[in-house]
Amino acid sequence: MKDKVLKAEHLSKRFGGVKAVKDFCFELEAGQIVAVIGPNGAGKTTIFNLLSKIYQPDTGTILFGGEDITGKPQIEVARMGISRTFQNTRLFSGLNVLDNVKAALDFSGKCSMLETMLLLPRHRQHEKETTRKAMECLSLLNLADYAGNRPGSLPYGIQRRVEIARALVAMPRVLMLDEPAAGLNPEEVFQLMDFIGEIREKYPELAIMVIEHRMDLIMNLSDYIYVQDFGQTIAEGVPEVIQNNPLVLKAYLGEEV
Amino acid sequence: MSVQLLVSGISLGAVYALIAVGFAIVFSILKFSNFAHGGMISACAFMGFFFQRMFSSPPPFLITVLFSALCGVVLSLLIDTAAYRRIRAKQAPNIYYFLASITVAILIEQVLTVFFGKNLYGYPNIFKSTTFTIGGIRFSSMDTLILIISLVILSVLIYVINRTRIGLAIRAVAINPATSRLMGINSDRTILLVFVIAGALAGVSGVLLGAKYSVYPTLGSSMMMKGFLASVIGGLGSLGGAIAAAIALGMIEIILTYFFGALSIPVFLFGIMLVFLAVRPEGISGKFAKDKV
């Protein structure tokens, strides 16, 4: 049996009087795409924040490749190989695209501040390496032309793809996409679906988790779906099952399925 | 002896409370630490001083205080118009507010230094005798007057903030300017009102401090740190907390000065600041400490 890359058991989180996430359990295998869907306010981004350790869970455990990461801080978990994008693109506006992607690799640099300031070999090597890896990643995802641009000057669809590239460059084991299609027009959504398809081909071992509202994206791409409403999982299963689930339709009353 | 120290401490604390409140009120609305407050204190101290000197026989002290408060209001509005207004309109990050306020503070200090030099100016005597006795204990007249004036102003302020519609508007805008606007509160006018109050407070503090110590260009900035510390310890969202903390601070300062000398104050101050901010940055009442995630 394949060891689950990411597994959560009985996660819960409350903010003041509101329980944002109640008893969330899920599993993710390498190479899988799992989706978390649900109406607004269902606690989906909170789940992401719990898994990427921006918040600490009140109860429950999180296992990453079999290892318990429940108590670990955000930075450690990020370095272990959980990568994410954000609902509103959080690219670093002070850096161009290439530097944004290089920044995701910089934590692992071996050169010290002193070596850097004196332009010693380890610094130069780090620069060469990271530029190479970053350009490779950007080229792989057809973004190489934008390397010198500032994020602010790029169309929103491209910015989103750059954010994904930044999340991929360090070769994570888990990639979490928080509403990647938000703010995209229908054509851009198709491009995004192709894009994610390409990522799956080029990074076959990568496990992906997606939060989305766009049903076409979810039903086409996911292997497994969790449906959240008011912090609880009201249904889970493969897309065909979820599509016909009355509870899901009820929660989404009025939404396009 | 110790009662005198106590009264002196409380009266000093009361003035610090005026400063802390003036500081805290601008912070709660605009979310930045208004460094210029110190400059306003110095400027008003000077203006009050010259006002008193203008007349052949000095006018009642209270009139001077009033005049100074007025100067403070004018100055405060001037600063807002010249320095802060456009920053607000541009919605620039808070750091620019802060930088602007520091610059204004230095500007005022420098202007005062250029015109009045580094001399100290003492307020002319207000009382026939500097002390009076009740029940065998000697009180300093100045300290008592300062205490009374400060307490009166603070009570009025607390009443206004908590019991009037204007105060409600201020509290609403402090929590959320956008929503307040939707509720029909004129945020811009409320902000102006806050600057008016802060200016008046700076004016009063300036005169009181100037009369107690003496008038010099850096008067405001040296006092401001204590006002800031008091509002932090009290919790920057809480007026009552700031006042309580300020009075405590005043007493501690008088006691420390008595035992260790005036130079020990900055050292202790920094130590208290560091420890307190490290251990409980939300202050006693608990708001606004760490940058929001």
Partner: protein, 302 residues
């Protein structure tokens, strides 16, 4: 060059050194400190007092001076960097006031407000200071275009997002703060060597504020802008000596003029004169070779 002109050069250099220190802290890592002058003070007093009372040469005691500044910076930064930005700034003012008070309290050694004078003359001081200045600017520039520069700008823009890429925000800020204090410390030594007298009043918070002002004027993210504005604005008043407006010497008003300038800049050109632009060495090179280069990459050189 006359002694007076050499002295002006040194003045410019010291200004450049201190503003570079502020650059690393504020432009790279987004920290706004008004305590840099305090580190100048700590290092200067320690260096020159030790040199006088222990009879050691300045370049040895300088190591102790800079080392102590960095140690103090480390101790302070550990709790202070957990605070919100303006608390941190106000704390730095308090720190400055404390250092001044301590200097006065130790008046037996430091001569308190009268000033610690008769610091020995050093031969070829101009070249030493020019060298130190060039070295520091060189190092800061390298830092900006390195992994540290990127990580700093990342955390300045968005701490949470930076953390999600494994960037240890807190530790990086501590390191940068310590670096900035080291640079300020070296500025303090140069100051003492040039002026040959130091006093607590020389290192008060308005000096720290002046550094920030010079930085924001030149360009909030531009090292080139900061260096130029640091040198020019510091030296300019010297040329206005003797100019009187309304009977007040313009030089006395120099700080007032700075302040007005910066308020104007903040209000009308918030990003500073040069904004983000840097002196691009490749651009310089191509200008010299008169190459009509086609594509030019915008912004940050990787």
């Amino acid at each position: 060059m006359s002694n007076y002109q050499l002295s002006l050069v040194m003045l410019a250099c010291i200004s450049i050194i201190t503003v570079s220190g502020v650059f690393t802290m504020t432009s790279l890592a987004g920290m706004f400190s008004l305590g840099q002058a305090a580190y100048m003070s700590i290092c200067a007093y320690l260096t020159f007092c030790l040199a006088r009372y222990l009879g050691l040469p300045v370049w040895i005691t300088a190591v102790a001076g800079v080392g102590t500044s960095v140690l103090v910076a480390w101790i302070i930064s550990l709790p202070a960097l957990k605070l919100r930005r303006d608390y941190f700034s106000l704390l730095s003012v308090g720190f400055g006031q404390m250092v001044s008070a301590i200097v006065i309290l130790l008046g037996d050694f430091t001569n308190a407000s009268i000033g610690f004078s008769k610091i020995p003359k050093v031969k070829h001081l101009v070249w030493i200071i020019l060298g130190i200045t060039a070295f520091i600017v060189f190092m800061v520039r390298n830092l900006k275009y390195s992994r540290f520069g990127r990580m700093c700008i990342a955390l300045k823009t968005d701490e949470i997002a930076a953390g999600s890429f494994g960037i240890d925000v807190y530790r990086l800020k501590v390191k940068i703060y310590m670096l900035a204090s080291a640079i300020a410390a070296m500025g303090g030594i140069c100051y003492g060597l040039r002026n040959r007298v130091i006093s607590p009043d020389a290192f008060d918070w308005s000096l720290s504020a002046e550094m920030q002002i010079l930085l924001f004027f030149g360009g909030t993210n531009s090292l080139t802008g900061s260096v130029i504005s640091a040198a020019v604005l510091k030296v300019l008043p010297e040329f206005l000596k003797g100019v009187k407006v309304f009977g007040i010497s313009l030089q006395d008003c120099k700080t007032i003029i700075y302040c007005v300038l910066i308020i104007v800049v903040i209000n009308f050109r918030t990003e500073g004169i040069l904004g983000e632009r840097e002196l691009d060495t490749k651009l310089l090179g191509s200008l010299f070779r008169k190459k009509a280069d086609g594509s030019r990459r915008d912004g940050h050189e990787g």
